[in-house]
Point group: C2
Chain length 197, copies 2
């Protein structure tokens, strides 16, 4: 893949929204934000979603930590978003690529045990052989510490939130090494009453 507007850096990003299904949604979101160190990522929020950008390790670290701290309240909380890397023209905030690789929230996240269900889809862009890349990756997921099932348009992962994020990050990371522009959508749900719909 080639693009004249393609940046030289490999800045990654995640555009996501945290959804607490609770009257206290503002407090839950602000409470989670207070507990998460976002200093190694560029961050922007509006009324629809939040975007964090930087090194892959920090983008996943921050997204995971925000979800964990929100879910820790015991309320039914979900998160939905899209990870992206190599989007042509995405060079803004390249200075965040100078941060060290040490994740800032791994310790506090490590203290939280939380089960969740997740559906994710990988989209390697600009490649005619993209389905092979997807199938190879979905197969790899089976070796990880999560339950993997097929779903329409997606792969379902069940397990501990940290194991799910670890599988997501490994999938994203291994594909982006082979394909310049990759996006990965995901929706994760915790503390859901069963048969909610």
């Amino acid at each position: 893949m080639a693009s004249n507007s393609c940046g030289t850096s490999r800045i990654a990003g995640c555009q996501f929204t945290l959804f607490p299904m609770s009257d206290k949604f503002v407090d839950i979101i602000l409470g989670a934000l207070e507990k998460v160190d976002t200093s190694k990522v560029w961050k922007n929020t509006d009324d629809v979603s939040t975007c964090v950008r930087g090194k892959i390790v920090h983008v996943f670290d921050v997204t995971e930590a925000l979800f964990l701290h929100a879910a820790k309240t015991g309320e039914h909380v979900a998160i939905s978003g899209t990870f992206s890397i190599g989007c042509p023209g995405d060079t803004d905030a390249d200075s965040y690529m100078d941060e060290s690789d040490t994740p800032l929230n791994i310790e506090t996240s490590g203290e939280i045990t939380q089960e969740a269900g997740c559906k994710f889809s990988l989209y390697p862009m600009g490649r005619e052989d993209y389905m092979d890349t997807i199938y190879t990756q979905i197969d790899l997921s089976k070796h990880r510490n999560v339950e993997v099932n097929a779903a329409h348009y997606a792969t379902r992962l069940d397990g501990d939130v940290k194991d799910i994020f670890s599988a997501l990050q490994q999938s994203f990371d291994s594909v982006q090494k082979k394909v310049s522009h990759v996006t990965m959508t995901f929706t994760m749900s915790a503390n859901s009453p069963s048969n909610k719909f």
Copy 2:
């Protein structure tokens, strides 16, 4: 694009989740479902998301109607999901392609006036020229009855929910005529207190 497992039909689908930010989230979701006629789409729901599949017109009609009826409650409600068509191997429930083209919920949806903000991204798969397709489509959006702005990894649309869904459907429909496998992610938010995050 070619795939041996590619279906011959053009069944579309949407994998989405409705997120009422309210203690009454179960009632809001069930209430919306009661008011929406889903008989022209295949439907499956679990604790993470709902999937509807059928003709493009009905997939959009049902998704829009569910969001409108949930937002009508006045609560802060969001929806996030992925529209998809031409996914290789996606032939299940082809019988729904025999339904007539008349949307079942257009009248009741028409009675609801609701402003919202939306971010969406188009992913034409398996094509090296995918960025041109995306840029052309984003340019087209400007001619519709919604405010269009650029966002990271996405295009932002603001306006009436029905106008937003109309723009989404037109974008999706025009791209899928040129590209076999297309996905389109979206997150829409209504009745949000400003600066919620």
